[in-house]
């Protein structure tokens, strides 16, 4: 492939390129964090699957007590949120600066909606007497979704931060690394849920 590999987005290309330059969006080195997070979650998935292998009947019976409709709705909400954040990054690349905060806060709202529905779901489970200590499946369910929700809360806060800055026009096509990295982290939160949802709720 004869593309020019550009490492930093701050330097403009000096000659016309035959195809789009290969670059990793965002703050330098941040993708190492994303990769590390993915590896850790792969280990968590493996440990969960190992536990399920040890007691499939218990895991299946407990799985049936979960509300996959609500969680499925949450999946749609998170995908929509990711879409809006991706649109925000696209807008900043095109210097359509008015649209950026709208898309970012759209993403924030969807994130908060996820938290709301997740809380409702947790509320139902706790009210039914299901806690992390109930059995092996419930321990894994609360641990995995809990770690995910923690990621989501951090991501929502970061989105709110960059959303506020984007209202002040802090980001534009030549200065967008922080926005891009926050977006990348948000998409990671989405990716993890795309796997977690069927892993916990749909695996019969």
């Amino acid at each position: 492939m004869s593309c020019t590999v550009t490492v930093q987005q701050s330097l403009p290309p000096t000659e016309p390129q035959p195809c789009k330059s290969q670059r990793l969006p965002g703050v330098d080195g941040f993708w190492a964090f994303i990769g590390f997070d993915c590896v850790i979650f792969a280990v968590l998935f493996f440990s969960f699957l190992q536990a399920r292998h040890g007691d499939p009947a218990l895991f299946e019976a407990s799985r049936r007590t979960l509300d996959s409709n609500l969680a499925g709705l949450n999946t749609i909400i998170l995908l929509t949120s990711s879409w809006m954040v991706a649109l925000a990054v696209q807008a900043v690349k095109r210097d359509e600066l008015d649209r950026v905060p709208r898309f970012v806060f759209g993403g924030v709202s969807a994130g908060l909606l996820f938290v709301l529905f997740k809380s409702v779901e947790y509320g139902h489970e706790l009210a039914a007497g299901i806690t992390p200590a109930t059995n092996a499946f419930s321990m894994w369910y609360f641990t995995l979704t809990g770690i995910h929700v923690a990621h989501l809360l951090v991501g929502t806060s970061l989105l709110a931060y960059v959303g506020t800055k984007s209202r002040q026009r802090a980001y534009h096509s030549r200065h967008r690394a922080v926005l891009e990295s926050v977006a990348t982290f948000w998409h990671l939160v989405d990716v993890l849920w795309i796997v977690l949802f069927p892993l916990l709720y749909l695996q019969r």
Binding site: V27, D28, G29, F30, W31, A32, F33, F36, D37, I40, V43, L44, S47, Q50, A51, A136, M139, T143
Partner: protein, 256 residues
């Protein structure tokens, strides 16, 4: 020359980290057999047998090696702090935090070794007492993740302050450090379970955090060692200074 002398002691201090990692692997994981430790759900009698019979000599020798290694983690951690303070400049709170947390861990590991030695010391001790000493040592060891997390976060924060074209630590390593720091929290699991990956013998509570710890110490030391090499060549007359340190010359000999 004074500067050269300081460089030598700094290198010795960094080398202490390498020796710590090596002795930990050989002594604690190997000789004391903590690569496959007595499981939390082994039961009273089997735990006593593990410490007073099957692994007694290994624990006594291996934990002796481990506490000696832990002592070396003190100068090693202080040197981490000094290297970071060169970047952070005046009022190096994060650099000092790194050093102090490392020293805390050095002391914690020392006490853990004492407890494991006590567990193996008198074969006639009651099984529940042996189990308690073992449990205490594991809890103090793994629940100390908080100090390592704070140390690693402080390290990463200072590394990000390094604005040179070639920073002391490459950015991908800094972000691995942040990721590792946060992933450590699974070491909080042992308080809540005796079996599975979150128990003190488990994949998520023990093996991965220890691997993260070993990688952080080894790799960070390696990059810092290279930096000292850079410093050495910069103070040699005639060598081109391509990477000027970010801090002012007055801070070359930091007064902490």
């Amino acid at each position: 020359m004074e500067d050269g002398g300081r460089l030598e002691t700094q290198k010795v201090a960094l080398w202490c980290n390498y020796v710590f990692v090596a002795l930990t692997a050989i002594g604690w994981l190997g000789i004391a057999h903590f690569i496959l430790p007595a499981r939390a759900d082994l039961g009273l009698d089997a735990t006593k047998v593990w410490y007073t019979q099957s692994h007694r000599m290994g624990v006594l020798v291996g934990c002796t090696i481990f506490y000696i290694a832990a002592g070396l983690l003190t100068p090693g951690s202080i040197q981490f702090g000094i290297m970071l303070a060169k970047i952070e400049g005046r009022r190096p709170v994060m650099a000092i935090t790194t050093a102090v947390c490392g020293v805390f861990i050095s002391l914690i590991v020392f006490f853990n070794c004492c407890a494991w030695v006590v567990a193996a010391y008198r074969p006639q001790t009651g099984a529940d007492v042996i189990q308690s000493w073992n449990d205490w040592a594991w809890m103090a060891f793994l629940l100390g993740w908080i100090y390592l997390t704070i140390e690693m976060l402080a390290t990463g924060i200072v590394e990000l302050m390094d604005r040179r074209p070639r920073p002391m630590v490459p950015r991908w390593m800094t972000w691995f450090t942040f990721g590792g720091a946060i992933a450590l929290f699974t070491a909080a699991g042992p308080a809540f379970t005796k079996s599975g990956p979150f128990a003190y013998h488990g994949l998520l509570a023990y093996y991965i955090p220890v691997a993260i710890w070993g990688a952080y110490i080894s790799l960070t030391t390696w990059f810092m060692m290279k930096e000292l090499g850079r410093e050495g060549s910069e103070s040699t007359p005639g060598v081109l200074h391509r990477d000027r340190p970010a801090v002012a010359a007055a801070d070359r000999a930091p007064a902490l």
